[in-house]
Amino acid sequence: MASNEEAWQEAREEKGINSGRTFPSNQVVWAAASTRDSISSMHLDGSGFATSIKVITGLKYWVLASSRRNEDGKILEGDLGSVMAFKDFSPDVCHSLWEFEGVLLGPGNIL
């Protein structure tokens, strides 16, 4: 799934690519420790990244939002591909525009 890691290897010798740069692990590999009842508010991960997490210990409740679609699959109001997606951004508005799905993750679970 991580095409960027494959590409880093395959494009290393390509002309014009900065071969001297080392893989920026410090920016894309991370760990987080959190105490009970702590919350991270609604956000997007930066730079258009996809995210993979693995819970080492404890329990996390991960709530994901997506655009609403009608029966035909057409995106309704709250299109996350629109420039108006965050026009009136607030928790209340978010809940009215998007669909949410929560996942409880325990030790060993991977999202």
Binding site: N4, W8, I17, F89
Partner: protein, 524 residues
């Protein structure tokens, strides 16, 4: 978790987790949208990272590598390379490609005083070049249909790009004041950079860009008709000259523009524009730049008139007018560039953006030229600066530099020494292989610059620099010693004659004049 997924997290029990960010080729469209959300909305809703666009640039390099090797590679073997034969794969490539094209608009550092490193600039330019090479490969090997009708692939890429650019501008305007922003990255700056980019690279799309901005175009993804992609076969051929097409080919004629949302206004004016082709091509640069649509139409008609000797078919070969010595202006060069490419691409206006193709159809793009042909580069102009001592400015080191790029020609035209590079070849003698004696032999030497002997090196160096090189090498090395009628004799005579003429034509009195003045001045 896919890109562009808003989320929040509750910790039910004390926890430790391990995470990883990544780009996946299969979600490139969402990556692009998520990236733009992050760029526009700043720190308010996202975690920001330092420059990680290098990942996308490297992805493009990897994609190009495999498409170059075999456009019909096994998709199961290369899961990290989008499959162009699916609409989703094509849109994935376009999504990343659009980001690379507008790299200087969507990179916050380009709005700040701190400059990017030279290596990064080179990489940015190279990645854009790579995307364009992929487009060439797609155009050559695949046929694209919209809603069942063939269309030139370039139109699809351009529509995607111009809509993306417009949405970007609209987005920044709409979100002004909503989240925390850097002062440098203002809506005006974003718009200015975007327009500057299109003016430099895709001037024909400017009217459409403005149109979309005015209409408040809001979608960051493909909103055009349904795309279907197939391998390119003989059935997809279509010649520019209508009489070369069979009835079946005419029935399968590719669309010249989108029906639902034309990229180019008033394409129906082709016929009327064709009549004015000669006038338009002879206009002054200012006049010729007046109407983008006129340019396009006149270019189309230029192809029909056979300018450039193009006997081409749709979506097959790319060529470029090579080695031109005509001192065209930059604007005219742009037009000529468009001509040569339009011919091969079916009369459509293909990139006027320094995208050059050699005889093998390989893209010759100056990878570090972001559109500013000369002068100092400002990051506020929608273009990344061209490093003065970039390793890729040396054409032998460049990825695809098999010939002098058009951009380079543009630069030389406006340089003070332009005449030095262009005159010698036209003056070469076909018999002797040499350049004829310069005006030195027929005109009297200027009295103020001394005698013929003194003046000769000055003339060689300033007017015909290449002539001196030829004298040294070709005739002496190639002329057989024993042949009486060899060109060497003639040239020797010419030299003597020129010497005599030069000496005799030098007024002795005028030679002395400067010395007199000097001595007189000393006395004073």
């Amino acid at each position: 978790m896919a890109p562009n997924t808003p989320h929040y997290v509750l910790t039910v029990q004390d926890s430790i987790l391990h995470g990883r960010f990544m780009y996946s080729a299969s979600t490139s469209q969402s990556t692009m949208i998520g990236f733009i959300h992050a760029f526009i909305n700043g720190f308010g809703i996202t975690n920001q990272h330092q420059d990680l666009l290098t990942f996308l640039r490297r992805e493009m390099a990897m994609w190009l590598k495999w498409y170059k090797e075999n456009p019909f590679f096994s998709r199961s073997v290369h899961p990290h390379v989008p499959d162009v034969l699916t609409a989703e794969g094509l849109r994935d490539i376009m999504a990343v490609g659009n980001m690379l094209e507008l790299a200087t608009v969507i990179d916050r550092r380009c709005y700040l005083a701190s400059s990017l490193t030279q290596k990064e600039l080179v990489e940015m330019g190279t990645a854009r070049s790579m995307y364009r090479q992929i487009l060439v490969l797609i155009t050559r090997n695949f046929a694209i249909a919209v809603d069942g009708r063939q269309i030139h692939p370039a139109l699809v890429f351009r529509r995607s790009l111009v809509e993306f650019g417009a949405a970007l501008v609209v987005y920044r305007q709409e979100m002004d004041g909503k989240f925390s922003h850097s002062l440098a990255c203002t809506p005006e700056k974003v718009k200015e950079k975007t327009i500057s980019f299109f003016e430099t690279h895709y001037p024909n799309l400017i009217p459409r860009l403005h149109q979309l901005i005015e209409a408040r175009f809001e979608f960051l993804y493909w909103t055009g008709p349904r795309l279907s992609i197939t391998p390119h076969t003989d059935q997809h051929r279509f010649f520019l000259r209508d009489h070369q097409n069979t009835h079946a080919m005419k029935l399968n004629k590719p669309l010249e523009d989108f029906i639902d949302a034309p990229l180019y206004p008033s394409p129906s004016n082709n016929l009327s524009a064709r009549k004015g082709i000669d006038v338009k091509l002879k206009r002054s640069p200012k006049e010729s730049c007046s109407s983008v649509d006129e340019q396009r139409l006149s270019v189309t008609s230029a192809i029909d008139e056979g300018i450039g000797g193009l006997q081409t078919e749709n979506m097959t070969r790319h060529s470029t007018s090579k080695g031109t010595q005509i001192p065209f202006t930059s604007a005219q060069n742009t037009k000529r560039r468009s001509m040569s490419m339009d011919g091969v691409e079916g009369g459509l206006d293909l990139p006027e953006d320094g995208v050059n193709f050699n005889d093998n159809g390989v893209l010759n793009d100056d990878p570090i030229n972001f559109g500013q042909s000369q002068g100092s580069h400002s990051m506020d102009k929608g273009s990344a600066p061209e490093p003065a001592s970039s390793p890729l400015t040396n054409k032998s080191d460049g990825p695809e530099h098999h010939e002098e790029g058009v951009d380079a020609v543009d630069k030389s035209i406006d340089s003070p020494a332009k005449h030095l590079r262009k005159r010698p070849k036209t003056a070469r003698d076909p018999v002797t292989g040499r350049f004829p004696i310069p005006p030195l032999s027929t005109k009297p030497v200027s009295p103020q610059k001394g005698g013929a002997k003194d003046k000769k090196p000055i003339v060689d160096a300033s007017v015909h620099p290449a002539r001196g090189v030829k004298h040294k090498g070709e005739p002496l090395a190639q002329a057989p010693v024993g042949s009486s009628k060899n060109p060497g004799e003639a040239t020797t005579k010419k030299r003597k004659a020129s010497k005599k003429v030069g000496e005799s034509s030098t007024p002795p009195k005028k030679e002395v004049k400067p010395r007199k003045t000097r001595s007189s001045s000393k006395k004073k």
